[in-house]
């Protein structure tokens, strides 16, 4: 039996699948800062009680010790809350509801949010570096661009066995924006290069990849944004994907 699925439905399904898969690792990423804040609130109440007691006694050293512990907890709370808010911001960018309209957005933020989310999956295995240029706002479909970038960063992470580095960068090039995602992974074999951007091509085992990821990136970049995609890769040394998107949205269909 075959089911007819329209292309944009497929796109939305893939986007939701990507977000769904990331959810477990993102949820885990919340546990340290939330755990810290919850524990700290409880300790702070205990501290206040001790301070009240210590204030009634002639023990200035104990008060000093309690005050400095309190200050330290406030610093941790701040760090933890900032980390949570960064994650929430990234999730919001990636999970923005599908919208056929173009919006003027800061592309560096979209790239960064994709990196932050994908990073929750790699944890310490992969170092993420950024090289963001100064960009004007770009007229684009942020939820789609975010999906394309998540696909590229996830692919980059999967191409790296063991430890490695992913670098993401942006530059203004005339009237378009150049975004690149580079990895220190295994690279693409010479004989596979021509097939990489074709439908259903994957070297991943069944269950790990559908071969749709890059096809979707290509569709989002070229059809939805009138941009272009290319890559350079050396087997054994890693791959860099380049996408270029015009600053101003071209009319759908690129007449």
């Amino acid at each position: 039996m075959s089911v007819d699925i329209q292309e944009d439905q497929l796109l939305e399904l893939q986007r939701q699948a990507t977000l769904g898969r990331l959810l477990a690792s993102v949820a885990h990423e919340f546990s340290a800062p939330i755990g810290s804040i919850l524990s700290n609130r409880d300790i702070e109440l205990r501290l206040i009680e001790r301070m009240e007691k210590a204030a009634a006694e002639p023990a200035p050293d104990r008060v000093k010790e309690l005050v400095s512990a309190y200050r330290e907890l406030a610093r941790i709370d701040q760090m933890a809350a900032e980390r949570i808010s960064r994650l929430v911001r990234s999730l919001k960018t990636a999970a923005r509801s599908p919208d056929s309209e173009c919006h003027c957005v800061n592309v560096n933020e979209v790239v960064d949010s994709a990196l932050q989310l994908a990073k929750t999956e790699f944890r310490d295995r992969i170092t993420v570096e950024t090289d963001f240029g100064t960009l004007p706002n770009v007229e684009c479909k942020p939820h789609l661009l975010s999906q394309a970038l998540l696909n590229l960063v996830t692919n980059a992470g999967q191409a790296i066995e063991g430890k490695g580095t992913i670098t993401a960068g942006t530059r203004l090039e005339g009237d378009s924006v150049h975004i690149w995602i580079s990895d220190t992974g295994h690279g693409i074999r010479e004989e596979n290069k021509a097939k990489v951007l074709k439908q259903g091509f994957t070297t991943k085992p069944v269950g790990a990849g559908t071969g749709l990821g890059l096809l979707i990136v290509q569709r989002i970049v070229t059809e939805d944004h009138g941009g272009s995609i290319s890559f350079d890769s050396e087997w054994g040394h890693g791959t860099t994907f380049h996408i270029r998107i015009p600053l101003q949205a071209r009319k759908k269909g690129v007449e």
């Binding site: 340290a32 755990g35 700290n40 907890l73």
Partner: protein, 159 residues
């Protein structure tokens, strides 16, 4: 307490913020010697050379899991208490930990301070009782062999 030292607690988590929270809690509510590590390999080296009563470890850490670290802890100091404090809610890893490293408690993040304090307090008592027990057993062994020697000498004298 059999020895004249503060109970020694080792905390291991790659998140500095978790260590700070628990260290502050222990400073406030107990009289412990607390040593913290963000790198599990360093904690393993510490456990090799220093007497520890309780080790509380995170599960997911770079280079070494909490279970691997607690297995090292068990190898160096079988009487010391081992606790896993994890945000990685995975029952399989909990069961593995209980079976492989003789885990005393499995706690999940976010944790409850009162419960954590209780676990650490019980863990210290347990470690000290086990050490005392081992001490008594070895005293008993010595007494037993002295008795045997005396018996042998007595037999020799009378026969």
């Amino acid at each position: 307490m059999s020895e004249n030292r503060k109970p020694s607690i080792v905390l291991v988590d790659d998140e500095e913020m978790i260590l700070t929270s628990i260290r502050t809690l222990l400073m406030l509510e107990g009289d412990y010697e607390v040593t913290c590590f963000t790198i599990p390999q360093e904690a393993a080296r510490h456990l090799e050379k220093n007497t520890v009563d309780v080790t509380v470890s995170d599960y997911m850490m770079p280079g070494m899991t909490g279970i691997q670290l607690l297995a090292e802890a068990k190898r160096h100091q079988p009487e010391a208490t081992r606790v896993l404090l994890t945000g990685h809610a995975d029952k399989a890893s909990a069961i593995q930990a209980i079976n492989d490293v003789g885990l005393f408690q499995y706690l999940e993040k976010p944790w409850d301070n009162a419960q954590l304090l209780l676990v650490i307090q019980q863990g210290v008592e347990r470690a000290q009782l086990l050490r005392e027990l081992r001490q008594k057993i070895s005293e008993l062994d010595t007494a037993h062999s002295t008795l045997k020697n005396t018996q042998a000498r007595l037999l020799k004298a009378f026969l």
